[in-house]
Every structure is written in structure tokens, then in C-alpha cells.
């Protein structure tokens, strides 16, 4: 048994739109060890959410398909699973916390009814045992008066409480992999901090692997061991957390780090990366970031850069070319 829980290799996903097929994910590869927290960072439209939905097998069935690569979970290629086999994993071995706690809980069911779903699907439990398990997990995530909450509806709870409910829904069957898709973005800052703290505690306690998707580098610094930076459907840099902040290699990562508000830069104008992420149908030859890159030179526009390796630090940028040779294409 390797200690790698999740391994994505050369993943390519195609969406069929009204204007023809597009590829929002191209050649994405990364791996996640057990017990590790891996951050996936990028602007909206970079493909980080699509990647996570692909892992969960939740891509819209008719509109999208995986056109290349594989996703290995527990040494098994899960892209080949039938829907029925996949169902045994979802909510059980792997779960996901979504971005919008406001819209992600069904408004016409009580919290108790919603939380009993994964238990009904995956565990053989009596009604009483289920209730106990639910109350237990609600207490774990710091929800007061759990016994009453199970009879209440989502709209009766605050945003922070709803996200705690979402977390408990994901934790019920003690999954090995927990995917968090911007779990705190929609919340107030103070509640954000509480939720992040809670997730850290839980992770330490249960020894899960976390795939943490966010656009917020501050959250990444807080939570993650390693970081994958995505841009326009591709991975542009992978590094250990301290390495990434100390020595970002890709100009896009550098831009992201620069554009964070920090204490001492409060008075000066915020740095921002010029331009926008190209849409999938706009991507042609050359480096996808070239049109926004302050360091772009001729080669960037003509040839797609390969991934350069510097120990465990990977980056996809021609700037690394002179020092190191290409090892992977």
C-alpha cells in the first residue's frame, strides 16, 4: 500500500456547450497523501471546482466527459466506476463541502432528515442509532442544542451554522478524503476563522486527507501543507507551502502573492494582475498566461511550456528553462 490516497494523472475534461466542445481542464496531474492537506488555488474560471467535481463523480452527466487521464483513489481508477459503485464512495469514503451554505441545503427538509441520508445509504443503523450519530457529529462541529436543531429547517440557521451542518454531513461516515470547495468564502470573516479552526481540529483528530479549494492564499497559508496553483484549466505550479510563499517560481503565483492585502501595504494601492483569465475557447498555442505576464517573451507566445522540476517544486514557465532542463511534457 502506498500512502498516496488520491492521484490524478493527465486529467482532461470536455464540456459540450451550445457553441461546440470546450476543454476547461487540460493535463492536470497531482497527488494527495493520506493525512495531507493540499490546497488548490486559482481565480474563478481556473478549473479548480471542475477538478474537484470530477473527483466526486459529480460532473453534469450529459454535458461533460473525462476525455483523458485517470483519477486513482485508494489505488483504484475511479473514472471507470459505474454510477452505482461511485455511490458507495460518495458521502462514505469521500465527501465534499460546498461553497454556498445558503443554497446547498435543501430548504424543505429538516436538518435531521438531511443528515440521515449518508447513514441510510452507507451504514446499517437503527433509527435510534442514526439519531445518536447525528447528534454526536453536530456536537463535534460545535453546534449548540443539537437535539433541537435536528428538527429545524436550514433557513432557521445562520450561515455559519449551516456551514457547520454541511461539515457534519460530510463527516458522518468518517471519510478518508474531504474536499472543501471554498467552504468559507460566503461567510463573515470572524465565522470564517472559526470554521477554519474547526476544520483543522477535525482533521487532526480523524487523520483525513483534505483537498482544499480556494482563491484565498491567506486561507491556504493557514490550512495547507502543499499547494497546487491552477490557471485557465492547467496546473502552473506545485510546491510545499513555505517554499511557495518564499520562492514562487511562476509569474502568476508571484502576482497572486503580491495582490494579497498585508498589514504593511494597507496604505499603498493593491497590486492586481492585469487582464482576465482567458475563456476555454480562447486558448490557443503558447503559454496560457502569456497575455497577462509581465515577463513574457517571444517563446511564451509560440510554445506551450512544459513542467519544470526543481526538487518537489514544479512550475510550468519558460523562465525556468535556462537553469533546468525539461523533464516532463
Amino acid at each position: 500500500m502506498s500512502d498516496i490516497l488520491l492521484e490524478i494523472k493527465d486529467l482532461g475534461i470536455q464540456f459540450n456547450t451550445g457553441k461546440g466542445p470546450i476543454q476547461p481542464i487540460r493535463g492536470v496531474s497531482f497527488s494527495l497523501k493520506s493525512g495531507e492537506t493540499l490546497g488548490v488555488v486559482g481565480e474563478s474560471g481556473s478549473g479548480k471546482s471542475v477538478t474537484s467535481l470530477a473527483v466526486m463523480g459529480l460532473l453534469p452527466e450529459k454535458k461533460s466527459k473525462i476525455v483523458s487521464g485517470s483519477i486513482h483513489f485508494n489505488d483504484e481508477d475511479i473514472t471507470k466506476l459505474s454510477e452505482k459503485q461511485y455511490r458507495k464512495l460518495r458521502g462514505n469514503e469521500m465527501s465534499m463541502i460546498f461553497q454556498e451554505p445558503m443554497t446547498s441545503l435543501n430548504p424543505v427538509f429538516t436538518i435531521g432528515e438531511l443528515l440521515s441520508e449518508p447513514l441510510k445509504q452507507h451504514k446499517k443503523m437503527s433509527k435510534k442509532e442514526r439519531k445518536e450519530a447525528i447528534i454526536n457529529v453536530l456536537k463535534q462541529v460545535g453546534i449548540p442544542r443539537a437535539e433541537q436543531i435536528i428538527n429545524e429547517y436550514p433557513h432557521q440557521l445562520s450561515g455559519g451554522m449551516r456551514q457547520r451542518v454541511m461539515i457534519s454531513l460530510a463527516l458522518l461516515c468518517e471519510p478518508k478524503l474531504l474536499i472543501c470547495d471554498e467552504p468559507t468564502t460566503a461567510l463573515d470573516v470572524t465565522i470564517q476563522a472559526q470554521i477554519l479552526e474547526l476544520m483543522k481540529e477535525i482533521k487532526a483528530e480523524k487523520n483525513m486527507s483534505l483537498l482544499f479549494i480556494t482563491h484565498d492564499l491567506g486561507v491556504v497559508a493557514e490550512m495547507c501543507d502543499r499547494v497546487v496553483v491552477m490557471y485557465a484549466g492547467e496546473i502552473v505550479e506545485v510546491a510545499e507551502i513555505n517554499e511557495l510563499f518564499d520562492q514562487p517560481l511562476h509569474p502568476y503565483t508571484q502576482g497572486l502573492i503580491h495582490s494579497r492585502p498585508t498589514n504593511n501595504s494597507r496604505k499603498s494601492a493593491l497590486y492586481s494582475i492585469k487582464g482576465q483569465v482567458p475563456r476555454p475557447e480562447e486558448i490557443g498555442i503558447g503559454c496560457t498566461f502569456a497575455n497577462r505576464c509581465p515577463h513574457a517573451f517571444e517563446k511564451c507566445l509560440k510554445e506551450t511550456p512544459p513542467i519544470f522540476e526543481k526538487g518537489d517544486h514544479l512550475s510550468k514557465c519558460w523562465l525556468q528553462d535556462s537553469k533546468r532542463q525539461a523533464v516532463m511534457k
Binding site: M56, L58, K62, E83, K84, R87, K88, L89, R90, G91, N92, S95, M96, F98, E100, T103, S104, L105, N106, P107, V108, F109, L114, E117, P118, Q121, H122, E152, Y153, H155, Q156, M166, L169, A170
Partner: protein, 305 residues
């Protein structure tokens, strides 16, 4: 909630009042009803005498005020033909109409909601396309014609069911199917689109991520959400069915309010028309009112505050 109920009740009163006003003036402006009671060559004096007797010679606003004053007390006058009390004639016919409309409503629900759900579940398959196709055609069929065809097949040719009249269960079958036709098409389309709408929601994805199989997502989770708008539509449709009942009743000589209204319009028997409009306006408004309450009741976001 009480505030809401009072507001809606005032609206009901307003609807009934305006409906009566408009119909009253329409009828009076359209001509003198006196002439209908007398042969075309009746002498002038006789016409005048009749007008005075029936009160049609007074100024319009006096007639209107008089009418409203009496109407508030439930007095719409007597039938110009039979001399019976207009309102009680209408009320006598109510049960038959309700029987027809409510049976049609239930038939539509039983057929249409499962069909709509299945259509959404099997989206874009042959089954889905076929059921959408049938509803499109169903909406283009005038239901009185559908009734005639049913009479031809089941009464004239097969001689299985009676073609007209009321009283027994077998009399009810054809009119109910006829009346249900339009609602079925509407319900199927509406259920399907409500289900598809709900199925694309974030919270359905959450349940999927929790491991729920598709059948359960549909039958348990999505259905309960879609039932909120569906229940509202169904309640409102009872009103539409009462309107449609006029035509269906005429086709099958069903002894309900619709047929009475039709005959009274033919005979220009206006007290009955006004009493009928009064009753239908009230029923319609009450149905709207109930639909609103029902909507609030099935939706926990409104119910639990």
C-alpha cells in the same frame, strides 16, 4: 398571517363587487330585456307595461343601486322565465359542477404528476420526448371537440357509456375525461419543468454528494421541493376547470351551473346570469385564496418563522 388573510378577503370582496358591476352594466347596455318576453309585434303599451312591471324603465343608476342592495342580501331576483329565485337555482346546480370539476382535477393529478416526474427523470429520452409531444398536442385540442369524439366512440359506437345527462357514475366518466384533458397537459409540462428546475439546484448536488441514488434524489428530495409550485398550480387550476366546465357541461348536458349559465345566456335570463357570475367570482376568489394559504403551508420557509 392574520394581516395577510384580511387583505386577501378584502380583495375577494372587491373582485366580486367589480365582477357584478361590469356584468350588470354590460347586460343592461346591450338592450332592453323586456322585448324578449313578448311577441315581436306586441303593442307599445304592452311593452311599457312590462317594463314598468320589471323595473326596467327606471334610470340605470337606480336599477344598479337597487340591484346591488338586493344582491348583498343574496337576492338576485327571479328567473325571467320560470319565476324561481335566481340564486337558489344556481346553488342547486353547484354540487353537480363541483363533482365534475373536482373529479377532473383528481384525474389530472393522478395521471399528470407521475408522468411529469418520469419525464424529468428520463429527460431527453424517447419517453420524455413522447410525453412532451403528447402534451403539446393535448393543448391544441379544444376540449369540447374531444368530448364529441368521446361520445362518438364510447356512446355511439361501443355503446358503453351514456352520452348525456347526469346522476350516475357512468354519466360522470366522459365529461370528467373531457374536462381533464387540458389540465393533464398543463400539469405534465409544469411538473416536468419544476422538477428539472429543482434538479439543477445546489442542494440536490449536496444530496448526491452524500451518496443518494438518482431515484431517491427524484422521488424524495426533488419531488418535495417541486410540489410547492405544483400544489399552487393545481389549486389555481380548479378555477380554470370550473370555467371549462361551462363548455363541457353543454356538450354532455351535465346538469351543472355551466349549463344553466349557458341556457340563461341564450334566453337572456339575466338574473340567473348575474347570480351565476356572483357565485363563480366568489368560488374563484376563494380558490385563489386557498392556493395562497396552501403555498405558505407547504413551504417551511414561510410556515416556520
Amino acid at each position: 398571517m392574520l394581516d395577510f388573510i384580511v387583505k386577501r378577503l378584502l380583495q375577494v370582496v372587491l373582485v366580486v363587487f367589480l365582477a357584478l358591476t361590469v356584468v350588470f352594466f354590460l347586460i343592461r347596455l346591450s338592450g332592453d330585456p323586456t322585448t324578449l318576453f313578448l311577441p315581436p309585434d306586441a303593442p307599445r303599451e304592452q311593452i311599457e307595461e312590462y317594463r314598468e312591471l320589471l323595473g326596467f324603465n327606471r334610470p340605470l343608476y337606480v336599477q344598479y343601486g337597487d340591484f346591488m342592495f338586493n344582491a348583498v342580501q343574496g337576492d338576485f331576483g327571479q328567473s325571467l322565465r320560470s319565476g324561481e329565485d335566481a340564486l337558489s337555482l344556481v346553488l342547486q346546480r353547484m354540487p353537480a359542477t363541483f363533482q365534475l370539476a373536482i373529479s377532473a382535477l383528481f384525474l389530472s393529478i393522478i395521471i399528470a404528476i407521475p408522468l411529469g416526474v418520469l419525464s424529468a427523470y428520463k429527460r431527453n429520452t424517447f419517453f420524455d420526448k413522447a410525453s412532451v409531444g403528447i402534451t403539446v398536442i393535448g393543448q391544441a385540442i379544444p376540449n369540447f371537440w374531444f368530448g364529441l369524439i368521446l361520445i362518438y366512440i364510447f356512446a355511439a359506437q361501443l355503446q358503453l357509456l351514456p352520452s348525456s345527462g347526469g346522476g350516475s357514475l357512468s354519466h360522470l366518466v366522459l365529461p370528467v375525461i373531457t374536462l381533464a384533458l387540458y389540465s393533464v397537459s398543463r400539469f405534465v409540462r409544469f411538473t416536468r419543468s419544476a422538477m428539472l428546475d429543482v434538479l439543477s439546484k445546489d442542494y440536490i448536488r449536496t444530496s448526491r454528494a452524500a451518496g443518494a441514488p438518482t431515484s431517491r434524489l427524484i422521488m424524495k428530495y426533488a419531488l418535495k421541493n417541486s410540489l410547492i409550485p405544483i400544489i399552487t398550480l393545481v389549486a389555481l387550476d380548479l378555477g380554470v376547470l370550473l370555467g371549462g366546465a361551462v363548455i363541457t357541461e353543454a356538450v354532455f348536458s351535465w346538469p351543472g351551473v355551466g349549463r344553466l349559465l349557458h341556457q340563461s345566456l341564450m334566453n337572456r335570463d339575466f338574473p340567473i346570469v348575474l347570480a351565476g357570475v356572483f357565485i363563480i367570482a366568489i368560488i374563484y376568489a376563494v380558490i385563489n385564496f386557498i392556493a395562497d394559504i396552501l403555498y405558505a403551508y407547504v413551504n417551511p420557509q414561510i410556515r416556520v418563522k
